[in-house]
Subunit: 361 residues, 2 copies
C-alpha cells in the first residue's frame, strides 16, 4: 500500500488517487489490447476513442458546443504565450494584455517579440496583490484581443469577474484554475492551460479555440505553430502527447463523476474558506499576500512573522506529511496549492497544523 503524503505542490501537483490507480492498473495492458497506452499507435481506434472522449468531456464540463475546438498540444502554456500573437496579432493591430504577475509578464514579453503589445492594465505597482477591476482596463480600438491570466500561482490572486470588451476577443491563460469552478466559458475566444495543475501530467496543454477565431490566423507560420494545423486534425497532425491526453481524460471523467464543475466548485469553495479563515483569525501571524477580493481559490500564498518561522513551518509541515508548502523561489514565503485533486480532508489537516504551529511557535 502506497504511503501517500498530502501534496500541496504548485505544479506538477497532486492528482486524484482514483485516477492514478486506474493508470497503474492499465499500465501493462490497456483494456485488453496487450499493450500499454504508451505503446499504442495514436492512429489506432483505441487511442482515437481516448482523444475523442477527452474532447467531448471538455466541452460537456465547460458548457461548450462544437464551435469550440479542443486541442492537446505539446510545449506547455509557455509555447502558447508565443502562439497567440504569432497567429492572432496582425501588423496593424495591438495585443492588449493585463499584467497580474509572473505568468502575465512572460506572455507580455513574447507578444512584444512578435508584434505590438499594449498594456491594458496592471497591478504591478501594488506588488500584484490584486486583480485590476474590469472598469480599470484601457483596451484600445485596434486591439486584436485582450489577454488575461485567470489565476496567479505565485502571488495567489485570481479573477472573480472577467472583463468583457465588445468586439475584442478575450484570451485567457487558465493553466492554474481551469475546471475548478463554474464560469461562462463561452465568453472566451481562446483558452489555454498547461495540464499539470488541474488536468493531468506536465507535457500536454489544453487549447480551446473558437472556430471563428481560426479564420483570423495569420499565414506564414511554421506548421506546428499554426492553430489551423491542429484544429481540423484534432491534435493529430503529428504524434500528440498521448499519455498526457489519456490521464487528462481520466481526470475529466473523475470531475464528471463527482457532479461536474458545480460539485467541484462547492468543494473548492469550502477548501479555501477553511484556510483563509485561519488568516482572518490570525491576521498578524498568517499574512496573505493577496487582497481579500482577489484571493485565489487555488494557490493560498502567505508569509509568517519571520523567514525563520517560514522555514520551520515548511519543514514541520513536511515532517507531518504535508508536502510542498514552500512559496515560489522568486518570492519566498509559504504556499498551499489546493487544486481540484486536493481533498477537503487535506485542507482540514493543513488548518489543524497551522493552528498547532502558531500555538507552538
Amino acid at each position: 500500500m502506497a504511503n501517500r503524503i498530502v501534496n500541496f505542490n504548485a505544479g506538477p501537483s497532486t492528482l486524484p488517487l482514483d485516477v492514478l490507480k486506474i493508470v497503474q492498473e492499465e499500465l501493462l495492458d490497456y483494456k485488453g489490447t496487450g499493450m500499454s497506452l504508451m505503446e499504442i499507435s495514436h492512429r489506432s481506434p483505441e487511442f482515437d476513442a481516448v482523444n475523442e472522449e477527452a474532447i467531448k468531456l471538455t466541452r460537456e464540463l465547460l458548457g461548450l458546443d462544437d464551435t469550440f475546438h479542443v486541442l492537446f498540444l505539446g510545449g506547455g502554456a509557455s509555447t502558447q504565450f508565443a502562439m497567440v500573437p504569432l497567429n492572432l496579432l496582425p501588423k496593424d493591430k495591438c495585443g492588449a494584455y493585463v499584467d497580474t504577475g509572473t505568468w502575465s509578464t512572460k506572455a507580455i514579453k513574447e507578444a512584444g517579440i512578435i508584434g505590438r503589445m499594449h498594456l491594458a492594465g496592471s497591478s504591478r505597482d501594488d506588488d500584484y496583490r490584486r486583480i485590476p477591476k474590469p472598469s480599470e482596463l484601457d483596451v484600445p480600438a485596434d486591439a486584436a484581443y485582450l489577454h488575461i491570466t485567470s489565476n496567479n500561482t505565485i502571488k495567489g490572486t485570481q479573477y472573480h469577474d472577467f472583463p468583457e470588451i465588445p468586439n475584442v476577443p478575450l484570451i485567457c491563460d487558465m493553466s492554474s484554475d481551469i475546471c475548478s469552478r463554474v464560469i461562462d466559458f463561452k465568453k472566451f475566444s481562446l483558452i489555454y492551460a498547461g495540464a499539470q495543475k488541474n488536468l493531468g501530467p506536465a507535457g500536454a496543454t489544453m487549447v480551446i479555440v473558437r472556430d471563428e477565431l481560426l479564420q483570423k490566423c495569420k499565414d506564414g507560420n511554421p506548421s506546428m505553430l499554426d492553430y489551423r494545423t491542429h484544429a481540423p486534425k484534432k491534435s493529430m497532425y503529428n504524434t500528440p502527447p498521448a499519455f498526457g491526453i489519456y490521464v487528462v481524460k481520466l481526470v475529466l471523467e473523475w470531475i464528471k463523476n463527482q457532479g461536474g464543475l458545480a460539485a467541484v466548485e462547492k468543494v473548492n469553495r469550502a477548501k479555501q474558506e477553511l484556510i483563509y479563515g485561519v488568516f482572518d483569525t490570525h491576521p498578524d501571524y498568517y499574512r496573505g499576500t493577496a487582497d481579500k477580493d482577489s484571493r485565489s481559490w487555488m494557490n493560498v500564498t502567505f508569509r509568517l512573522p519571520s523567514e525563520d518561522l517560514e522555514k520551520k513551518f515548511i519543514a514541520d509541515g513536511k515532517a507531518a506529511g504535508l508536502g510542498g508548502l514552500k512559496g515560489h523561489r522568486s518570492v519566498g514565503g509559504c504556499r498551499a496549492s489546493i487544486y481540484n485533486a486536493m481533498t477537503l480532508e487535506g485542507c482540514e489537516k493543513l488548518v489543524e497544523f497551522m493552528e498547532a504551529f502558531k500555538k507552538a511557535n
Copy 2:
C-alpha cells in the same frame, strides 16, 4: 498477469517490459516521496536527479562529452523541423536538405517557410527505395547546415554511411533509430528524436546540440523556440514533459544494463537479419520496399503478392498475437517495426508466422 502481445507498432511503439513494470510499481509513490513522479515539482531534488541522470546516460551511451547539451522538449520532432531553421538558417545562407521520404519532406517544407532551402539530394525519383550516397550530394558553399533523416519509417530505409561535409554542420532527425547502434555521434552538430520509438512515450523530444552551434542561433525568436532558452536551463525554462523524461531515463538505464549501444546493436543486427532473411528466401512473395543496401534495421516494410493477401497477413498476424503489422496509411502494405524494445524472440515468432503464412496462402 498482463497478457501482452508482440507489438510491431511503428510509434508509439513497444517499450521494454522491465521499464513498464518499474513505472507501474512507482506510480503511486515515487521512491518513498509519497507522490507519483507526475505529482512532483520539476524544481524538486527528486526530479532534478531524474533529469540529470537522463542527460548523463545520453552522453555516456552516445559517447559525447559536455560540449553537447542534452535537452528534452515538447512538441515532437515536427516542432524541430521548424526550430532548426528558425535558429540556424540566416538570411544570407541556405539550409541544405536530403529528401529520403515523408519525414524529410516535412522538414524541407518548414525550412521553405522560414528561409532558403536547397535540395542537396533526393531519392524521390526512385520512390524513396534507397538512401542517396554521400558522393551524390550537392551541398553548396553557402549552406548553413546539412539536414538528413537517419531512418525512414514509411519506406523502411536507413543511412548506413553518413555524409561529412567540411565546415557544414550535420543535423539529423534520428527519431526512429537513435540509440539503436554504434555510430560516431560526434560527427553531428544537432540531433533530435521524438521519444516514441526507441526512447519512451510520445510527448518528449530529445535534442542534442553542440555548444558551439548555440552561438550561431538567430535573435528575435519567441523564447520557447530558441535553443539558447533551453540549453543553459537543462530543459527547465518552463515545466518540461516530466513523466516522459522519467520514462526515457528508465529506458536509457535499460540500454546501459544490457551493455550499451554495442550490445543493443548486436541484437538489432540479428533481428533484422532474421526477417530480411525471409525476404531473400522468398523474394517473389515477401517483396521489400527498400533496396538491399538501404534496408532499415528498425522498420521492415514489405508487400505481398496482392492487397488481399496483405489484409489477411495483418489480420492473421493479429490473431496470432503479432500486432501492428499494417503499413503506414500513406503507402499501404505491411511493416514490422523492430525498435530496441522488440525482442529477438518476438522477431523469431514473426519469422515463423511468415513462413507458415506463405505455406498456407
